[in-house]
């Protein structure tokens, strides 16, 4: 594609030729022809974008707010010079350039390489992809410019931030609801050694005690103490209404942070954690323990987006059979725009679940983006307080979570209303 400069030169050349013909001025015609010839000759010496790119990331998975170090290696694999080559690494606009630049102008000889290094800050959770790499090459006189891209992508997941909530549970005024994994003096799946027994077909090889086998000549199996674990259910409200507020501060963002932190806390205590997300549909991650479950939960939370308006009671009704008896349930919801919340909580409590409602104060989030008249705000707050009171009246623990309040601080206020 011609640049503006080339277009002007060409139009000028043609004009000079024609005007030269009009007034029979050969010098003018020759000058015009020179302009046109200059354009034609330049079109034969354009650059190229035949380069190989390789991107290296400091991490594929990171937490919201973390820095990502990116290095892009560009190698000219042609036998010609690239001329003026502009390389631009397409970075999602949700990421902020912290240092360095994601672009560079270069003129690489055959086989030469150049590196572009930059640091990104990721203020938003989500699934992101860096790339493709855009290339723009010009010829020496900047008369033509061509654009292309190298379809090279690097995917990554930005998890919600994890907050330390241990202190909240230690300093809580209420008795500890969840004790974490405890060992029972009976054989079963667990971590602590219980006894040795003889091998029976079907036992996993990894449990064979090879030293005992060497000593006795018989296959012996290590038996473990059974761990008693608590199944914990976290229900996250991801309905459309959960996006009240700003992109960084809204009930959903705070909810994902809370869900990730709670899951992390309980998984570290070897509890079994389940994650339920409801928006326009229901997403259910069965309870499990370990790092794998932790990754699954964080990945799910990274991809959560506000949409839909599924009522909470539909969630609890469809999953009631899956909830372990008496297991604790965390409901993270603003409880706005859903008239089924009291009934759902009443049912859960009635089935013997320990229900904790962590409710980001949506009216206070709304206040961040909208000028609410003082009197209306007070009335709205009273109405919300009424709602929280009624939920507490059904026997659940209710936490009214204000936007500027830290999670552990919010958890400390677990109390009966």
């Amino acid at each position: 594609m011609w640049t503006r400069k080339a277009s002007f030169t060409f139009a000028g050349g043609i004009s000079l030729i024609l005007i030269g013909m009009m007034i029979s001025n050969h010098q003018m015609m020759i000058l015009g022809l020179s302009f046109v010839a200059f354009i034609v000759a330049n079109s034969w010496i354009s650059g190229h974008g035949d380069v190989e790119v390789q991107r290296t990331l400091s991490a594929d998975n990171l937490y919201k707010g973390d820095d990502l170090y990116v290095e892009l290696l560009v190698t000219n694999r042609s036998s010609r010079r690239t001329q003026t080559l502009e390389v631009y690494d397409n970075v999602p606009h949700e990421m902020k350039l912290r240092s360095g630049l994601n672009q560079m102008k270069m003129n690489l000889g055959p086989g030469e390489s150049a590196r572009i290094r930059y640091v990104l800050r990721c203020p938003l959770r989500g699934h992101f992809s860096i790339g493709p790499v855009s290339l723009r090459y010009r010829n020496t006189f900047n008369l033509s410019v061509e654009e292309m891209f190298v379809d090279h992508h690097s995917d990554m997941i930005v998890f919600p931030q994890l907050r330390d909530v241990e202190e909240a549970f230690i300093r809580s005024r209420t008795p500890k609801m969840y004790t974490g994994a405890t060992t029972l003096r009976t054989p079963g799946p667990g971590t602590e050694f219980y006894s040795l027994r003889e091998y029976v077909p079907g036992d996993p090889f990894k449990n064979i005690n090879w030293k005992a086998f060497a000593r006795t000549g018989d296959l012996m199996i290590n038996e473990k103490c059974r761990d008693a674990v608590t199944d914990l259910y976290i229900i996250l409200d991801s309905r459309d209404i959960a996006r009240i507020g700003t992109v960084l501060k809204n009930p959903l963002e705070m909810g994902t942070v809370a869900a990730a932190s709670l899951a992390n806390f309980f998984l570290q205590r070897r509890d079994s954690v389940s994650l339920i997300i409801y928006d326009e549909k229901l997403s259910y991650l069965p309870p499990d323990t370990g790092d794998k479950q932790h990754f699954k939960i964080l990945s799910s939370l990274a991809g959560v987006a506000p949409k839909g308006a599924m009522p909470l009671q539909a969630v609890t009704n469809s999953l009631a059979a899956r909830f372990s008896r008496g297991s604790p349930i965390f409901i993270i919801s603003s409880c706005e725009g859903d008239g089924t919340v009291p009934a759902a909580i009443r049912d859960l409590v009635g089935r013997g679940h320990e229900v904790t409602v962590l409710s980001p104060s949506s009216i206070d989030f709304e206040r961040l983006v909208s000028r609410i008249p003082r009197m209306s705000y007070e009335v709205l707050k009273i109405e919300r307080q009424n709602r929280m009171t009624s939920l507490a009246g059904f026997g659940s623990q209710v936490i009214d979570w204000m936007p500027d309040m830290d999670l552990s601080q919010a958890l400390l206020q677990v109390r009966g209303y």
Partner: protein, 545 residues
């Protein structure tokens, strides 16, 4: 994704449609202007029997440059030395392209006449006035726009004469370049009737004689003999080491018409009109072209009978002499006078231009043509003004190929585009249009041509505020405040909705225990803004211990 695909297809379809329509429009335009016809004839650059290559080769052999004009005679205005240029128009086979132009009184007109546009005719007239020589060979074509400008007119209908070549057919007419017609003696020309050229055989020592005769006299005075190569432009008269100029021309024409003198349209700059050749007095012209001669006045279009002009010379000087300023135009009533078959009859009869069915008789077409060239292009001594025998250093013959029908699209399109180019750089109105076009082009480039924007990473997280501002006023209404307060009372006291609804008013008043709020709940009246604010404050603190 599907929507993207549809949109892409629509866009491609739209582009196809656009280019399709554009090509159809351009094709329609080209069909109107590009005129593919019979294989090229009367071209100086083809060597078929009906082309003019032998004439051009003779000219080149004499050391004169030849060029073809494929665009427009407007270019004649650009010639630096028209005095030493001869412009040959051999058959005007097609009409001009009608483009707008300024007429003499600065009014925009379209060329509506045949052959050449007014601008082109004006260019030819100017060329003649400046001393150039034009030879127009024409029979039934479109040369009348030029002819009329010089006060003559082609009849454009076939002329039949009794003086024809009996070995061939009646289409081959004999004529002599003289004021009286030559006659027949049986089946051959009666040599007794052959006279001399009316202008080139005058008794005037200089201006009334052909330039070769003058030069021959000069050579004779010097007493030098010359070879044929040294005879230069007069080599056609070379005999035994001397120039023996002979002013009689027995011309062979084919499928001819006649030329009328039209005094009414004579160009003011042209001074002399001279008839150079005529038909016999028994010639007829088939005006309606039906192949029959009907002279009766009863017929709708009676044919003509009598003597007709076959060659007229129009000059911009009194004597038509090459020693005076001003050029001349030779009109010949036959487009094929110089075709290879007649011009180079020896070569033709020898099979040089293809198979021969009938031999062409000997004729003086070549001698006449070369004498015209000699008169037009012979160099003169700058001191004495006498002829030098050799062509002038700037001598040039230009063949007009712009009105010849081409045999393929590419050539005709090229000619047409070249014509447009010359039109836009030669015609006044077109120049104006071109200036405007160039101005618009520059403006277009300035406005539309953008360089790609520099790349820049933009950190942008969408700030999606969310809220329902319409409900704020609803929450300021008294009834809503009342409802919220009663809900608070009910919750605070652990009552169900049913229990609360069935509770006596006195009990509720006692439960509220605040006279202001009791009044607010039980009195249905309007409250001022200040009162409402005060009530909300009381509701807020109500129930706190």
């Amino acid at each position: 994704m599907a929507a993207d695909g549809n949109s892409k297809f629509k866009r491609i379809g739209l582009q196809f449609a656009f280019w399709g329509v554009l090509i159809i429009l351009f094709g329609t335009l080209m069909v109107n202007f590009v005129n593919i016809g019979q294989p090229n004839q009367l071209s100086a650059y083809d060597d078929d029997w009906d082309d003019l290559s032998a004439f051009r080769q003779d000219i080149n052999d004499m050391g004169i440059k030849t060029k073809s004009l494929v665009s427009s005679p407007l270019l004649l205005e650009e010639l630096e030395d028209p005095r030493n240029v001869t412009f040959v128009i051999a058959g005007v086979e097609r009409d001009t392209i009608s483009l707008p132009q300024f007429s003499g009184d600065s009014v925009v007109t379209f060329a509506s006449e045949d052959g050449y546009s007014p601008g082109e005719v004006d260019a030819i007239v100017e060329f003649v006035i400046k001393g150039g020589t034009v030879i127009v060979f024409e029979d039934y074509g479109y040369a009348n726009t030029i002819a009329e400008k010089f006060g003559v007119k082609f009849k454009r209908a076939q002329l039949f004469d009794t003086v024809y070549v009996h070995e061939l057919d009646y289409n081959y007419i004999w004529t002599c370049m003289q004021l009286s017609p030559c006659g027949m003696n049986g089946t051959v020309i009666d040599t007794e009737t052959i006279e001399s050229h009316s202008r080139w055989n005058s008794s005037d020592a200089l201006s009334g004689r052909h330039i070769c005769a003058v030069w021959a006299d000069l050579m004779a005075l010097n007493g030098t003999t010359i070879s044929k190569d040294e005879a230069g432009l007069c080599a056609q008269h070379h005999q035994d080491g001397v120039i023996e100029y002979n002013a009689s021309y027995q011309m062979l024409l084919n499928n001819i018409t006649s030329i009328d003198i039209d005094e009414s349209s004579k160009h003011s700059a042209m001074i002399t009109q001279g008839i150079r050749a005529v038909s016999s007095s028994e010639a007829t012209i088939d005006i309606n072209g039906d192949g029959e001669i009907q002279l009766s006045t009863n017929t709708k279009t009676p044919d003509l009978w009598g003597q007709f002009n076959l060659s007229i010379e129009v000059c911009a000087s009194v004597t038509c002499s090459p020693f005076e300023a001003g050029g001349r135009v030779h009109f010949i009533a036959d487009g094929s006078t110089l075709i290879n078959a007649i011009y180079d009859y020896e070569g033709f009869n020898a099979g040089k231009y293809g198979p021969v069915t009938k031999e062409i008789p000997a004729n003086d077409n070549r001698k006449w043509a070369l004498d015209v060239i000699a008169e037009a292009l012979m160099g003169l001594d700058p001191v004495t003004g006498m002829p030098l025998g050799e062509p002038s250093p700037t001598a040039m013959v230009i063949f007009d190929e712009s009105r010849h029908v081409q045999s393929n699209v590419a050539t005709d399109t090229y000619n047409m585009l070249y014509f447009v180019l010359v039109y836009f750089t030669g015609e006044g109105l077109a120049k104006l249009l071109l200036f405007i076009g160039l101005f618009v082009l520059f403006e277009g480039v300035l406005l539309k041509k953008k360089d790609p924007d520099p790349w820049r990473h933009v950190f942008s997280i969408i700030y999606y505020g969310f809220g329902d501002a319409n409900r704020y006023s609803y929450y300021a209404k008294t009834n809503k405040i009342k409802q919220v307060f009663l809900s608070k009372v009910r919750n605070q006291n652990g009552l169900t909705r049913e229990e609360f609804d069935s509770m006596p008013a006195r009990e509720l008043q006692a439960m509220i225990a605040d006279p202001v709020l009791v009044k607010f709940v039980f009195e249905n009246r309007d409250f001022t803004l200040e009162q409402t604010v005060a009530i909300v404050k009381r509701v807020k603190v109500w129930g706190r211990v």
